[in-house]
Symmetry: C2
Subunit: 186 residues, 2 copies
């Protein structure tokens, strides 16, 4: 997996633009549990997961609530904070040894200024982000605990292996006990 792969499914931009953008990317070899973003701080980077996976979560009333899992080939950041430049309420960490590329907020803005074409790339990332969120929301709206688990198994089976029962349960919006019972009856 090389840097340019990052662009593959995004859009066609000129060689110059691409090279400039790539020059701003920083490669991160992350161990399991590496923190990409930390709650309380303003999100600094937009990450691309070349290999590995990550989990976004926040703490509320002493509970650790997973809001999303991200896999290879996806972009991830604490989007709310990244957009608003206000402190993030979520923390993002790798679920395993991962290879990441990241670009800082400021460099990204510089890219936009220099090459408005890149606005389009970012727009498309945002669109993907949005669609993923919308789909998750709608899917979770009707389904029972059991159906939500089955859907996760089908859509992101890798998560079932990588994440703990606690992470999965909070992501699927049920208690650990309910998840445990659901799993027992498959």
């Amino acid at each position: 997996m090389t840097k340019p792969t990052l662009f593959e499914n995004i859009t066609e931009v000129s060689e110059d633009v691409r090279n400039f953008f790539i020059s701003k990317l920083e490669e991160i070899q992350a161990e399991k549990g590496y923190k990409l973003e930390t709650a309380g701080e303003v999100s600094k980077y937009l990450y691309y997961i070349a290999e590995g996976s990550a989990r976004s979560f926040y703490i509320r009333e002493n509970r650790d609530i997973t809001v999303s899992f991200s896999l290879e080939g996806e972009f991830v950041t604490a989007m709310h904070s990244f957009i608003t430049r206000s402190p993030s309420y979520e923390t993002i960490e790798t679920l395993e040894k991962s290879l990441l590329y990241r670009i800082s907020y400021n460099d990204l803005q510089e890219c936009f200024k220099k090459f408005p074409d890149l606005e389009r790339v970012y727009r498309m990332i945002l669109e993907k982000y949005y669609i993923a969120l919308e789909e998750q929301m709608i899917f979770s709206k009707f389904k029972s605990a059991r159906e939500r688990y089955l859907e996760l198994m089908e859509k992101k089976p890798k998560i079932i292996q990588r994440a703990s029962v606690g992470h999965i349960a909070s992501f699927l919006d049920m208690t650990i006990e309910t998840l445990s019972r659901v799993r027992a009856k498959i």
Copy 2:
């Protein structure tokens, strides 16, 4: 409320760009129940609500499920369909007599080509859309039926007046009966 208001909170663009964009806007005087987008069709327009309000919903298993309410000053479209150019699964209709401005997908793309600056405007609309969705998702994740209703009352009191119990109940992800009981105890 005039066309330029639409830009007020968005960003500064040059007079030329603004005028070109405005020239592409179409004004719609909509009666209550006017359909902005229809399930099964590809979303054609991005709407701006100058006055009034709208409801997005879809039908599943014979139930009418409200996914969002939009108020004055907000943009609205069947975003998933608008982005992917695939048939929409949602329908959007006005909840009351409304004044709308809309721009077609093609005109918007033309704007982007001619004035890359406008990509930024659209990006910001997307960002707002994203943040609203994320907030709604997180808020609905912890709260009881009662708390979800109280929060809606606080955040969008106008909706409580305009929408029917059925619309509100499906939006808050509870049955009509539960909502009725919640309201009885306030």
